[in-house]
């Protein structure tokens, strides 16, 4: 028969676990709201930026003098994968699903005979990738002391990526992050940042007829803006990722809280049964003792 005291201890420990997961869920909910607001605030910039860039890219894109950031180096031998994950765990499958996608693509590229280099952002992704792709890791960006993501953080990563590109370390760069769809759904995504691709804005097809004057020239502007485009794309990916992380953590902690509740219920039933059995036993002992007299 299980010991009553042990059962009591277990119930208490599960109860305190539930308190922790509940608190984490509420913290994640508050942070999620902030992260969503931030992502929302950053959207107008990214949208406008993409709109202008896709127009510019169209008009300059085909000429021979187009910057390398746009047209590529002419080869696709070396790939840089920028894998963005969280700094903390306890957020369900968030980190694993990004890593899984990145690992799948990396293995595919390796199998095709390409050279793969991996730059990790966020501690959790590096830990998971180090196991089987450790030789391909070339760098790591630590964001653990960043309290509130700023554009400067994205710029730091972009500068790192761009200086490697200028040094000829890779031909194609892709970022891996999670798109925030809803609290229960975050989609791991791959996006190519070098050579640059720009999603044409929706519903502005009729605007395409507007011919803009460019000051200074188109190519100067493009050369100035392309590096910023890399930073902008990294920034929006970071924000999406932050919102996804909090969303994933919130639903993971919600599940954990519910599971803890179920467990407490089961343990309480067992505890009461055991207690009754002990009482019944004692009564039987008393009665049979009295009868023996």
């Amino acid at each position: 028969m299980p010991n009553l005291k042990d059962l009591k201890n277990r119930i208490n420990s599960v109860k305190s676990t539930r308190k922790i997961t509940q608190a984490m869920q509420m913290v994640a909910a508050a942070k999620l709201r902030r992260a969503e607001e931030q992502a929302e605030a950053a959207r107008p910039y990214a949208e406008r930026f993409n709109a202008v860039m896709s127009e510019l890219a169209q008009s300059v894109g085909d000429s021979d003098s187009a910057p390398k950031l746009l047209s590529g180096t002419g080869s696709d031998q070396t790939h840089l994968l920028v894998v963005m994950t969280a700094e903390r765990g306890l957020c369900g499958g968030f980190n694993s699903s990004i890593v899984k996608l990145a690992r799948y693509q990396a293995n595919k590229l390796i199998a095709a005979g390409k050279t793969v280099k991996i730059l990790t952002v966020g501690k959790k992704g590096r830990e998971q990738l180090r196991r089987d792709l450790g030789d391909h890791l070339i760098g790591h960006v630590d964001l653990s002391d960043v309290k509130r993501l700023g554009y400067a953080d994205a710029q730091r990563i972009a500068e790192d990526v761009l200086s490697r590109f200028d040094a000829g370390e890779f031909d194609v760069a892709k970022i891996y992050y999670s798109v925030f769809e809803s609290v229960i759904s975050q989609k791991p995504t791959e996006k190519q940042i070098i050579p640059a691709t720009f999603d044409a804005p929706e519903g502005e097809a009729d605007d395409a007829s507007t011919v803009y004057d460019y000051e200074p020239g188109e190519e100067e502007i493009l050369a100035d803006l392309l590096p910023r485009g890399v930073a902008t794309q990294i920034f929006s990916a970071l924000l999406e990722n932050a919102a996804s992380e909090q969303g994933a953590r919130m639903s993971a902690m919600d599940n954990a809280t519910r599971n803890a509740g179920d467990m407490i219920e089961r343990l309480t039933i067992e505890f009461n049964r055991t207690r009754q059995a002990v009482i019944t036993n004692e009564l039987i002992e008393i009665i049979s003792g009295a009868e023996a007299l």
């Binding site: 931030q38 910039y45 202008v52 507007t210 011919v211 803009y212 000051e215 920034f235």
Partner: protein, 141 residues
């Protein structure tokens, strides 16, 4: 002719201003320009400087450190890398930017030296314009 146009000032982190403007003075890379309603469609990059927006309620001024502006007949959008209302610009903020630009200038090679030097002088000129001349700036951290 409409006497106002839609004007948006956005930075990567937030939207700073959105509303109807009569005229916008933009510190373009090749010189200042003023955008008014029905301006010819133009895209220009920005140099560090002061952006002035004339609205019905009066003027609003912002310090921008770079980015670009898209002007079309319907409206003007300024996408600034960093933008601050003029009153919020501190001498520390400016010193930090100048120090960074000076460092870039000292490390630059070839053609890049000129543009890096221009960035420094633009920043210093912006400081003079908003009343934080180099002499009164706090030392860079």
């Amino acid at each position: 002719m409409a006497d106002t146009m839609q004007f948006d000032l956005v930075s990567p982190e937030r939207r700073l201003l959105s509303g109807q403007a009569k005229a916008v003075r933009i510190p373009g890379a090749d010189g200042d320009m003023t955008a008014m309603p029905d301006h010819a469609p133009t895209v220009t990059t920005l140099r560090p400087g002061v952006l002035t927006v004339e609205m019905d309620g009066g003027e609003e001024k912002f310090a921008v450190t770079g980015g670009f502006a898209q002007i079309s007949a319907e409206g003007t959008t300024v996408l600034a890398e960093e933008a601050l209302p003029l009153g919020e610009v501190t001498s520390e903020f400016l010193s930090e930017r100048v120090a960074k630009a000076e460092k870039a200038r000292d490390e630059a090679e070839g053609d890049a030296i000129d543009s890096a030097a221009k960035l420094v002088s633009d920043l210093v000129a912006m400081g003079d314009e908003i009343g934080i001349p180099a002499s009164s700036r706090a030392p860079a951290p």
